[in-house]
């Protein structure tokens, strides 16, 4: 992973680029899904870009993140390659998971990305475990878990934070409060006003930050990373944000109106960050447009390449279950394959 030093101008431009890449990637993914191009579900990160990029900009290259079903943004923020991501969305052999994972399971463990995750709340315990490895081995690594407002109601999230807090593990917990868990608003899921109040239950620092402001996210996570790396244990950060699309593509969204969405769009994170950079002279309008065009083209190319990439061979469905060889799989599968191969 290329680390972004967001305190430099280069870093700021790179952060902007990643936010734009997420937006372009996920907008495109939404269109492709609507066109029936992509199988399964896609959950888009559009609107929430400042959270993923702000948080990852505060990490070091070897740090870990865990992600969610809404994971594309985290992947790009952590430096993953949109091309291999797009191929994965298409289920192609050159995707991150060779087509086995799809949108909800993109991972690149070597890059510290421990996996998107289809199970709400499953990521934080994994981050606690990655932080435990770091503590046991005395490595200067931190594990950051992204999870949603809805996930805060999951038992295993509670358990993971409590363990990390009790053991002073180098972990950072980032709640992406995008105001809804599917169609259920946050106030129907929790009794607290701010989800950062749950930090009180673990006697760890808890902050609510503006998730539409990349700098605010960056600063909070930076401080949390420093604490964590220092042996002072985890921090809980709630980033208030909003998803512009439905929960998944196809969601009719009976639970909110266009106007509700517009209120947040008016505070769009990319727009405002860009404006700040323009005002500061870090980037010009022209450079910005160029950057955007470049990214759009990058994504177009990714789509083209993904489309034309080969599917995995069907036989690969029976590989990768175990490191060891398990006779059951080869026996059962060779029988299944011998049978009906042709008319599938």
């Amino acid at each position: 992973m290329v680390v972004i030093d967001i305190e430099t101008e280069d870093g700021q431009r790179e952060a902007l680029r990643r936010m734009l890449t997420i937006r372009a990637f996920d907008t495109k993914a939404g269109d492709l899904f609507a066109d029936g191009e992509l199988p399964g579900f896609v959950h888009l990160y559009v609107g929430e870009e400042a959270v993923g990029v702000g948080a990852c900009s505060a990490l070091e290259a070897d740090d870990y993140i865990t992600s969610t079903h809404r994971g594309h943004g985290h992947c790009i923020a952590k430096g993953l390659d949109p091309k291999k991501m797009m191929s994965e969305l298409y289920g192609k052999a050159d995707g991150y998971c060779n087509g086995k994972g799809g949108s909800m399971h993109i991972a690149d463990v070597d890059a510290g990305m421990l996996g998107a995750n289809g199970i709400v709340g499953a990521g934080p315990p994994l981050a606690t475990g990655a932080a435990l490895t770091a503590q046991l081995k005395g490595e200067d690594k931190v594990a950051l878990a992204f999870f949603g407002d809805g996930a805060v109601a999951q038992g295993q999230v509670h358990e993971a934070i409590n363990i990390a807090a009790t053991w002073d593990l180098p972990a950072v917990f980032v709640v992406e409060n995008n105001q809804y868990g599917e169609g259920t608003p946050v106030e129907k899921q929790h009794n607290v006003q701010n989800l950062s109040e749950t930090a009180e239950a673990y006697n760890i620092p808890g902050f609510t930050v503006d998730g539409m402001d990349i700098t605010a996210v960056y600063e909070a996570v930076k401080e949390a990373r420093n604490r964590a790396a220092d042996g002072q244990g985890p921090t809980l950060i709630e980033a208030e944000t909003y998803r512009y699309h439905g929960h998944f593509e196809g969601d009719q969204q009976p639970y909110r109106t266009e106007e509700d969405i517009d209120i947040w769009k008016d505070r769009d994170a990319i727009e405002s960050f860009k404006q700040r950079l323009v005002d500061a002279g870090t980037i010009t309008e022209d450079e910005f447009d160029e950057m955007k065009a470049e990214i759009d083209e990058q994504i177009e190319t990714a789509v083209e390449e993904a489309k034309s990439a080969p599917y995995p061979d069907p036989s690969e469905a029976y590989e990768d279950m175990f490191n060891a060889t398990v006779p059951e799989i080869s026996q059962f599968s060779s029988q299944m394959r011998a049978d009906g191969g042709e008319d599938r």
């Binding site: 086995k100 994972g101 289809g118 809805g150 999951q154 799989i329 029988q335 049978d339």
Partner: protein, 336 residues
Amino acid sequence: MSTETTSGTGPADTQEMTFREAIRLALREEMERDEDVFIMGEDVGKFGGVYEVTGDLVEQFGEARVRDTPISEAGFMGAGVGAAATGSRPIVEIMFSDFIGVCSEQIINQMAKNRYMFGGKTEMPITVRTTEGGGSGAASQHSGTLHTWFAHFPGVMAVAPGTPESAKGLLKSAIRSDDPVIFFENKEIYGQTGEVPLDENYTLPIGEANVEREGEDVTVVATQRMVGESLELAEELDGQVSVEVIDPRSLYPLDTDTLVESVKKTGRLVIADESPLSYGTHAEIGMRVMENAFFSLDAPIQRVGVADVHIPFSPVLEDEVLPHASDVEAAINRIV
């Protein structure tokens, strides 16, 4: 498909509807019939359920009885158990059976055990509805078929119907039952249609298999999506091989008698179920038949299922691992 009804009204009183609609109808009728019945789950209310099963029920019954929950399956599964123990008759929806690992404790140690541990002094009138199965590119964490776990674990009944009619009749029985029932809905057949009795008192006893099609040469015991696929296959093979198709409908209790009777007639058995093969539903069905029709079996029992892998994302891979009619056909060909 049979159109038996318990009330004696004729086949005219049926209507063609989808599997999904049949379930919604069962829910609606039982909620109308019994005030103690309520539904609890994620986005079952205004959202209508991610597979649109609860649909508009919230409009008729209100948010208290069609109740959106926080994403806390263990909490609300346990709340269902506690509610059932105190005079309610809850229906708990777990969006995907793949998620049941976050709340299986409340199922196995509370719901399934209370009655027994307490010496029979309590009832547990709760129904858990959940979805199963691959076929839509939902990948490994949203495509599993887990019913073997709950067919195996003592103290709960496991129902997994293959047709809209069975779905209605069995879900109503599950809701009325004073025992805990886990009701598995295969996502791929939500849109399949069939004639469904409109009689509000139409129920099907849990624990009765249904001979969906009679045949002489081979018995295909098929569940869920495989029921329809096997019926189509049987039609195709008509003239060459005479295939009897049975939907056990309830995996626990399992209607051994109907299966055994069929195999005594045909001498051959293929079991088609989407579970992973090792220690799967197939093995129990096979053993029951073997224990009771050992000397009638003319050929080894054939299992059609998933070859001990997860359901992969890519369409080519997913299609590869899921059982299809072609696999049933190959299995039939091996023994007929």
